[in-house]
């Protein structure tokens, strides 16, 4: 990941316009934000595809399928969305230098992400349709699965950051990695909110 590349090839020199040390993290963060913007276009494309299918497909719900259960996914949605607040608390703790507090909040965020993934797995296991059941089944599993893959990536990245927090002097040069993972997590949350509205709430 970009965060694991302490970018010192730009020497403390004028090429940073005087940002100095700060500038190195700045490269990484600039690169990461550009990456997230680009990644969001994949989701935009998939959302657009979903909307087109939903509004124009002659065969939408597979035979015998009425729609999706909303209450249970809503609970897991609440867990995922509130984890965005928890990760903000973790970041705040880190900025105040309270390392153990940071680790606790950070671990809680990971746990909330894991709960969401388990919830999604349970939902998948109980559904009466599969990936091959028409364009509805295809879109449902692809969209939720692709998002779930991002949640999993987020949890794994957080694990990496947690492990690194035990390295002595890890935050001497700033905490760009933590900021980037936190940004990624907010991104994953926002995408889920849109997905939830599209898939669960939007009825034809």
């Amino acid at each position: 990941m970009t965060t694991s590349t302490p970018d010192a090839t730009a020497p403390e020199g004028p090429s940073d316009h005087g940002h100095g040390d700060h500038g190195h993290g700045g490269h990484n963060l600039t690169g990461f934000v550009i990456f997230l913007l680009s990644e969001s276009v994949i989701f935009l494309a998939l959302f657009a595809g979903y909307a087109i299918y939903k509004t124009s497909s002659p065969l939408w719900l597979p035979p015998g399928v009425e729609g999706l259960e909303v209450a249970e996914p809503l609970r897991f949605t609440a867990v995922l969305v509130s984890s965005s607040g928890v990760i903000a608390l973790a970041e705040q703790a880190l900025h105040r230098g309270r390392l153990w507090q940071f680790r606790a909040w950070w671990l809680l965020t990971m746990a909330m992400g894991a709960v969401f993934l388990v919830g999604q797995g349970l939902e998948w296991a109980g559904l009466p349709f599969g990936l091959g059941d028409g364009v509805y089944g295809s879109s449902f599993y692809l969209l939720t699965g692709f998002h779930g893959l991002h949640v999993l990536t987020g949890v794994l990245l957080m694990g990496l950051m947690l492990a690194r927090s035990f390295r002595p002097g890890n935050y001497d040069a700033g905490s760009v990695g933590v900021t980037a993972v936190s940004l990624f997590w907010h991104f994953v949350d926002v995408i889920w909110v849109v997905l939830f509205l599209l898939i669960y709430i939007w009825k034809s």
């Binding site: 090839t9 020497p11 690169g31 994949i42 364009v135 692809l142 692709f146």
Partner: protein
């Protein structure tokens, strides 16, 4: 690779070390290593891409051999389908994108005074994906059923058929290769954009930046916005092909048209990803060889972004004959024609730059002039194709094939050749032979007109593309095109000979052989690993100050003297 080369950027001693990056071998073997030096990566891209250029060219000559007679007699029609699919895919994804990334790697850091790219390891990783997806695509010749025959568009339903039932089939490998190429390109794009935004030399504001860097940002922005859409479309295609989904299967409620939207949303702008850097090369070279400042520099710079913006709202012009509603055709016809405005601005700026200039007709300049000439022709046929009634008449005929080859080969590849002849001395430290170069220009120019002009004629008469056999009435045009294609093959001989022998035993190049203005020309030839290292110049004026007698950077004489010693 050793642990020192894994983290060359962390150790402060490393930053001050001279050429090459420590831990990397200081000989040809560094080109086979995970080297993080942008100049090594640039040459790695270019050499690998030129190899695939030969592969793609060989495929096209087999096709032209087939088409020299009306009957399908040289190769089986199924093989022919595989040939044109692979020719298109190889030329775009394994030749042009990578070779332009090679230019980006070589040129962007020295042009803006940066020591390297913003993320050197990401850069090396992006490069090393290239041989991987190149091999995956080539491997599709070896799987049962052969390579994909669905064309480089890979439209469903053809691309989601799997008649032999093998999980690993030609189409599967095609999707895999294109997806990996997309990942590699996004990694590259992140790097180029971040580098240009954050690592410019002091004093180099946006409007003091060479046009090549402007066009690089404009082109890479398209990669960042468009490639994710292609990736989404390709993932759905892969699921339909391999995992039984119905995204593009009407029998399951899917819609094959959606793929066309996803595909062209990226793949039309992709032409601009390739042509914008070539506009950059033209804009760099015309001032050097005409000894005049680039006409309308700021407008040319901004026009690049106008092209980026417009390129993202024209894609449906590839689908005029795909059951597109009339209102949509009208909208996209207008947006497509609008692209002629910023591109026209650039062409007029180049002509105004040449006007009354002291032209030096070097090989590089001849390729630029030829490329611009061909581009004007392609622009005119482009406007014709943008017009709905004309497009419905000639869509999917050889007229389209002729048009886009005039863009892709006769403009973009000419620009690539021009760039190679121009910057070869800078990055290898050797001059190329002008005589062989001019032979290359001559054969290429005759060959490309002979190949692509008759295609327009055959297409206007109605010859469909992607067929192994055709009506004998088109025979004359096809014989001409085939002879031209073989001539283009012959034209590669002086070029390759020139590249190899110049690099091995060419005359040593001075730091600034063309008497050009630009930060890269203040460096020795070849430049040291970290370009200006700690001694980054302060830019005090805009680029292209030809005949204006003003220095580009503070203390210019010192840099000139230093580069003369360091070569």
């Amino acid at each position: 690779m050793t642990s020192t080369s894994a983290a060359p950027s962390i150790d402060p001693r490393v930053l001050r070390a001279p050429h090459p990056v420590p831990g990397a071998p200081n000989n040809w073997r560094r080109f086979l290593s995970f080297n993080t030096d942008a100049k090594v990566i640039g040459l790695q891209y270019m050499i690998t891409a030129l190899f695939f250029f030969l592969v793609g060219g060989l495929l096209s000559m087999i096709m032209r051999g087939e088409l020299i007679t009306p009957a399908a007699d040289l190769v089986d029609p199924t093989v022919y389908n595989g040939l044109y699919t692979m020719h298109g895919t190889v030329m775009l994804f394994l030749f042009l994108f990578p070779i332009l990334n090679g230019f980006n790697n070589l040129l962007i850091p020295p042009m803006i005074g940066a020591p390297d790219m913003a993320f050197p390891r990401l850069n090396a990783a992006a490069f090393w994906l290239f041989p991987v997806f190149g091999s995956i695509l080539m491997a599709s010749f070896l799987v049962p059923g052969g390579p994909s025959g669905a064309g480089w568009w890979a439209y469903p339903p053809q691309s989601i058929q799997n008649p032999l039932g093998h999980f690993v089939n030609g189409q599967f490998l095609w999707i895999l290769a294109v997806a990996l190429s997309g990942i590699s390109s996004i990694m590259g794009a992140l790097n180029f954009v971040t580098t240009i935004i954050r690592m410019r030399a002091p004093g180099m504001g946006w409007f003091r930046m060479p046009i090549f860097c402007w066009t690089a940002v404009a082109a890479q922005a398209i990669q960042l916005i468009g490639l994710p859409v292609l990736t989404a479309g390709a993932v759905l295609l892969l699921f339909d092909l391999s995992f039984g989904t119905s995204f593009y299967r009407p029998e399951g409620g899917g819609d094959p048209m959606l793929y066309q939207h996803f595909f062209w949303f990226y793949s039309h702008p992709a032409v601009y990803v390739m042509v914008l850097p070539v506009f950059g090369i033209f804009s760099e070279l015309f001032p050097v060889y005409a000894r005049k400042p680039l006409f309308g520099y700021q407008v040319v710079a901004i026009a690049s972004f106008a092209i980026t913006f417009l390129s993202l709202i024209v894609w449906v012009h590839h689908m005029f004959y795909s059951g597109t509603p009339q209102w949509m055709r009208n909208v996209f016809m207008v947006t497509t024609m609008l692209i002629a405005v910023p591109t026209g601005i650039k062409v007029f700026a180049w002509i105004a730059t040449l006007w009354r200039g002291k032209l030096r007709l070097t090989t590089a300049m001849l390729f630029c002039l030829g490329g611009m000439f061909n581009f004007i022709f392609a622009g005119i046929t482009g406007i014709m194709l943008a017009t709905v009634p004309v497009d419905i008449h000639v869509g999917n005929t050889y007229f389209v094939v002729g048009h886009f080859h005039t863009v892709i080969f006769s403009t973009i590849t000419y620009g690539v050749f021009a760039g190679i002849y121009h910057w070869f001395p800078k990055f290898t430290g050797r001059m190329m032979y002008e005589g062989l170069g001019k032979l290359h220009v001559l054969l290429t120019f005759i060959g490309s007109q002979l190949t692509f002009l008759p295609m327009h004629a055959a297409g206007l008469l109605g010859m469909p593309r992607r067929v192994a056999s055709y009506d004998p009435e088109f025979a004359f045009d096809n014989v001409l095109a085939s002879l031209g294609a073989f001539l283009l093959g012959v034209a590669m001989i002086p070029f390759l000979l020139n590249l190899v022998s110049s690099w091995v035993r060419g005359e040593k190049a001075p730091p600034n052989p063309w008497n050009a203005i630009g930060l890269e020309w203040l460096l020795p030839s070849p430049p040291p690993a970290e370009n200006f290292e700690q001694d980054i110049p302060t830019v005090i004026s805009g680029p292209y100050g030809y005949g204006l007698d003003r220095p580009l950077v503070l203390d210019e004489e010192r840099y000139v003297a230093k580069s003369a010693l360091g070569g």
